[in-house]
Amino acid sequence: MSGKGKQSSKKALIKVREGGKSGHLSSVNSDTSSESTEAAVSLPVLKTVDNGKHLPRYCSILQRSAEECVGMEDLDTLQLELETLLSSVVVRCRLLQDEITNLSSAEERRDKRSKSVKGLSTLDKKIREDKSKLKDFSSKAQSPLPAKLFKQKTSGGLASQVVPNPHELNRIDGSKSDLPKLLLPKNDTPNKFWASVDPYCTDIMPEDLKLLEELVASHSDQSELKKIPPLGRHYSLLWAHNDLLQEEDAANPNRDKKKNRSDVSLLVSKVDKKGNSIAGPLTQRLVSALLEENVYVANNNMDNKLFRDGDPPVLRDLSIQNSMNLELRMHKELVEQGILEADTPKKNQDDEILAEIKRCQQELSALSNHNVTQLKRLLQLAQEESKRQAVKRKISIVDNEVVEHYKKLILAKQRKVSMTKKEQEKAWSCLRERENLLEHLNILSSGSDTVINSRNNTA
């Protein structure tokens, strides 16, 4: 009992070798190591031709007449053979379905890619070409199973050729391992890599320089960032209103809230009506500081008169149309009274939000300055590089000429005809020009190096 399953599979394996159908009997041929890996990539097909070999009972039943039919003694073997068939057919079915999904997904990916290629700008024509090349490679690579199938098919085809002796067979078996290499899909990773690197290595075009210049210009203008909008209605009015409410509540906790509110809104609307413009921060503060008294006053005066006759002139100024005027006067008055110091107004004017805005502006302008310097540096480098590229292009033209001259020279030597003086002179001049250009290039690149170095030093 022990090892019986093993033995049978090994036997079958030998059978397979004899028949040279290694690809077709994975269901039996899956013992260990190399055999099993080979079986894993194959499409299990039990060929009808090999019925006698793999399915002897099944085969013999096929040859029986209807009277002979199937006997009880056939059942055990027949069951196993049918199960082998079932397993192989199900495995084949699943492999094929996998294969179909692979193909479909490869198609989908290709569709997606072609769409994205369309979306690319005209500047990237070169990349696009590369990508379309890539596309073919990758669609190939994305469907590894066909390769597997090819492998199996071809190896099966090779092995099924009539082989006279076992030694010959072994040789073919050995060579099989080499075969798949030829059939492997091309490795497209280098292509992908170069395509991705390509944009970084291409020549700098005049468009690129133009783009950089535009960027520098657009970033240099910082005036837009420095604008601080005036206080909006929300902050100037609503906050003042809220402040008033709070102060009032704190001062007169027992008061009826409804009345309270109406008083305050009355007050604010009055100020609004009178000033028709927003009171300055100093005024607002002062008003809120004096509010308790004011409200009290307002309450007592049935005619809603805001100020008593005995009030100091500063309070009377609350009715002055120009609130900025009031603000200034207030400031002056406060300084005179010794409540405010002369240099504090600036601080007073800076509220929280303004401070935050200024802080952000500072950060922003620092960042912007940095960007501009970087852009300028990039532009300079690009300009130098484009100069170098121009020289390089010239050099390559001259290179070609030199090569041509060399070819002519070789040809002449082969024919044993000496070159004409003119030609020789031309060749020499070409060489000299090339040397000059190379020197020029050297100077240029060393010059740019020093530029970079000096920049690094300053940074």
Binding site: G5, E83, L85, L86, V89, Q97, I100, K153
Partner: protein, 301 residues
Amino acid sequence: MLRSSPSKMPFTADAAAHQIQERLKNIYNLIFEIEEERNRSEHNLNNITKAHDKITPDDKVSPYYQQKLKSLYSAAVSDAQQEEELIRKALAKINEIRAIRNERRIQARNAGNKETIRRGALMKMLLSSAQTLPLYVGKSPGAKPPPLCGAIPAEVTYIAKMGDMVAALVKGSEEEENWILAEVVQFNPTTSKYEVDDIDEEQKDRHVLSKRRVVPLPLMRANPETDAHALFPKGSIVMALYPQTTCFYKAVVNQLPTTATEEYEVLFEDATYADGYSPPLNVAQRYVISIKESKKNKSQS
């Protein structure tokens, strides 16, 4: 499902023979249909081969060929499905025949004419019944294998049927307990106890055991090629029938079967060996089961 169908049939020897004969004829016809289908499949598969050969030289699959391959594959898939269905039918017929014969055997036993088998014949019978246990081949790759297929245990409420093979925990002569191979005689639902026969005729014992001392053996083999997830993983602790005995012992799965006909390779816990384990031994899927050790110990104490 197949096992239950014969119970509705009359079981005179003649009727059984007639039913079996009918099914044998069915199988005969099905085999011809299968062959026909296989020829058809082969035609398509050859086309695929040809297509592959055409593509291989330039090592590039153009969209046109991808489409072509796809349609070829689809055709091959539908062929394969037809073939699969026919083979399943034929196998179902074979199972029916086995079920009918099993019913007959149980009937005969209940009638009192119990055939006595020698030990050698018994071992052979155990082996062949393990080999011909129906093979489960999932219809789709992710299909959940049914209970009692391979390593999948029975549902908690499952009651083994009359004539089913089980592992039964019985007390031996010296208060020792053993998991033996046994056959269900009947289940008493009121006491929730099984009556089982030791498979070894020489013992001639009939045991009455509570449900938790009876573990039904798998009713189907799992196909390693399509449903490997229904097998015990390597290294799992199982109870396995020790070769040439009718007792189950604790063992570690050492190697899984790779084909439907192969067996597990297990290492039995055996104190007589230096490392505590027997050398690798092969045990059929049918005789490898999982037993919850802790529960069993609790029930024992």
